[in-house]
Symmetry: C2
Subunit: 150 residues, 2 copies
Amino acid sequence: MNDLEIRPASADDLPEIVAMLADDPLGARRESPHDLTPYTAAFELLTRDPQQRLAVAVRENRVVGTLQLTFVPGLSRRGATRAIIEGVRVHADERGSGLGTVLIEWAVEEARRQECLLVQLTSDVSRTDAHRFYERLGFEPSHIGFKLQL
Amino acid sequence: MNDLEIRPASADDLPEIVAMLADDPLGARRESPHDLTPYTAAFELLTRDPQQRLAVAVRENRVVGTLQLTFVPGLSRRGATRAIIEGVRVHADERGSGLGTVLIEWAVEEARRQECLLVQLTSDVSRTDAHRFYERLGFEPSHIGFKLQL
């Protein structure tokens, strides 16, 4: 893990982040890496929202990983704030390097700093390798994740 | 559904909301309805966060339902904003009345107004009645929901 830095994403990182979102069995059908316009608009929204952390992992000036962390206050569980992880990606060149673990551990540490009581995420039922990965990191598959496309 | 109103929660609604959170097989172990201090602090956080909607359903001046809706911008899916539903509760007196459907339909309509492309939620694997309910409303159980307690 030498020379690896995890830092907030900047607008300059967008092409590399979007390329990683698209280089994925599910992402390939959903993303448009050759038209960054919608991503630039969404990046602006993320930047203005103090509850958002869009992080990148950088090694030797290359973006090799990303995730998004959102802090959600709430009444349940005695007013617990929870952290939600979305959009986890590790560059194809780095898979199996332990970078996924470093990214998730960074997110969990950030969540602790924000005094969250819970970190949660959903993973498509087809991503069985990811499920084993999250269970190894101590996450419990205690819920069903429902989605409704609008 | 006569005389039913869905409106933003106010601080005065907190005792009734917390009583509903606690009147639940899982909530009974997690909530402290006789000490509102942590809920009042969390309510302040919700009020200050423009991405949050804490709603109550009110009938004849009684709070009979609640849910929390959070808008989460993001890069995935071409910069889609998603809406996350949490803390859905219907008062014991109102179960089977269709109020749950009204609440979720209100949340979906709010999500459309905010131009969200997706509405999502997680439900504990033990809540099998809730799963059938969400599937009837068009939600797909496409994901596994992982949680890590901090």
